[in-house]
Symmetry: C2
Subunit: 252 residues, 2 copies
DNA sequence: TATGTCAATTAACATTGTTAAGCTTTCCGC
DNA sequence: GCGGAAAGCTTAACAATGTTAATTGACATA
């Protein structure tokens, strides 16, 4: 915490931008190399010294740009979350929130399969004291994945699409997210553990999302709850109205 | 892999047992200390040197009893799995497999809450080449947790308690396990990440199990699935007995 | 008594994250 | 243009990690 808050050190000189541009450039270079190294070597195989060697610098040079290893990797992960959020772009246009939920689940699966190492770091590692929310706006559904999920769940809830006992947006969001996360994390962490005969991941995940949504929503036989939200004052009033104040892509 | 397969080195001498008893004793001593250290310091804080200091030995002495860090911790975890399995003892006597399933889920939750560090190591860490199955018999439901789960799912399936599309025992077992694992791992890893407003873990897990089971089983309104097993009509009545109310029998 | 195995130690190696001090090069005010 | 300061980076080092090779002492067996 000593000497790397240089982003606005010089007070007001015209050449500040030039220096700073150069600085940002190498910063990005380090960040990019770190991302690649993380992908190739995995979280365990990542080391500051390897990274330094790869960019032709000395290990200490990195500390001029980043506070420490956690801070660096935290920022790498921030970038991944951004990319993660982008995978949800098209889904946002799906009108039915329940359908949107299912799509989000599958997008999540796809992302986890494509970036297992980043996934590991994003959701399977607890890092305290990384620069949270420096590059992502918390609570903003267009940047914050959890907020996006939250909003979708809230919408469905306001439309009366969930069973009456599921009246807490946070709870339902987390149940849904946790389920999908469970399949994917097991796949990534224990996937080649031959103690268990693992069934194919994709259909498994799909089925799970199906089942979970079926369990969260009322039965379809007779009275399809046709969005009983004519008046918003049904049971969804207590929890569903709360704005996503503290939430976001699980990170740290 | 060099010098620690000494368990049966001496061929046939009467004093073998004496030596070996001593050996097993210190082995257990190390194992116990390792378990405690793992509990107190967590996976990250665990180190061979700390362990050595705690038992009054030199770090290298440990290598005389265990191949390496992974091997040691692997055996620690084996012990925890045994304990884990014991948490299922009473549940085994529940006649209805679906109810049994729900109880297993809640037992799992309880275990995770009580032993978060061991949980971390058991399910959140990928250890390749650890001496698995040295102390646990794979496939035996009374020792192997997954086998216990599997058997339960199979029984329910044979009774026709699942929807027709869920016809793969492995898949259903893993879906169920993964869901519960998802909530618990998120709780453990990200539980104190204030980016997300986490909802209380216990009711969340309970609700999730409820929802998932509801989604896996046929709807209860009209024609109750009549268990296409034909042959073993031993307990086809349980299907009618099941209620959609409270499933989490395993309370604390 | 001699010998070989067992149990444990000392010393060392390689690798890790991180910091303190120093050395150029560049920039800014004068 | 010049002096001083800051930026950018390196060298050297520290402490902690897992792990191995060589060695020493004890002890049971021949």
């Amino acid at each position: 915490m000593s000497r790397n808050e240089k982003t606005l050190s010089r007070k007001s000189s015209p050449s500040e931008t030039r220096r700073d541009r150069e600085r940002q450039k190498t910063r990005q270079k380090i960040l990019k190399a770190a991302t690649q190294l993380l992908l190739k070597q995995g979280v365990e195989g990542f080391s500051m010294r390897k990274l330094a060697k790869q960019i032709g610098y000395t290990p200490t040079a990195i500390y001029f740009y980043f506070p420490d290893k956690e801070g660096l990797l935290g920022e790498v992960v921030d970038g991944r979350f951004k990319e993660f959020r982008q995978a949800f772009e098209k889904i946002g246009r799906e009108p039915d929130p329940i359908r949107r939920l299912a799509s989000m689940g599958m997008a999540f699966v796809k992302f986890a399969l494509e970036h297992p190492d980043h996934y590991r770091f994003m959701f399977l590692t607890s890092l305290r004291s990384i620069p949270k929310g420096r590059f992502l706006e918390k609570g903003n559904p267009s940047q914050d994945c959890y907020a996006f999920l939250w909003t979708t769940v809230q919408e469905a809830m306001q439309q009366g699409q969930f069973r009456s006992e599921f009246d807490d947006v946070d709870q339902v969001s987390q149940i849904f997210f946790a389920a999908v996360h469970g399949v994917m994390s097991l796949h990534i962490v224990k996937g080649d553990d031959d103690w268990v005969q693992w069934s194919p991941i994709r259909p498994k995940a799909e089925r799970m999302i199906q089942a979970l949504i079926r369990g969260l929503t009322p039965e379809r036989g007779g009275s399809r709850a046709k969005s009983a939200n004519g008046s918003k004052s049904n049971r969804a009033s207590t929890a569903a109205n709360r704005k996503p104040s503290k939430l976001g892509a699980a990170r740290e």
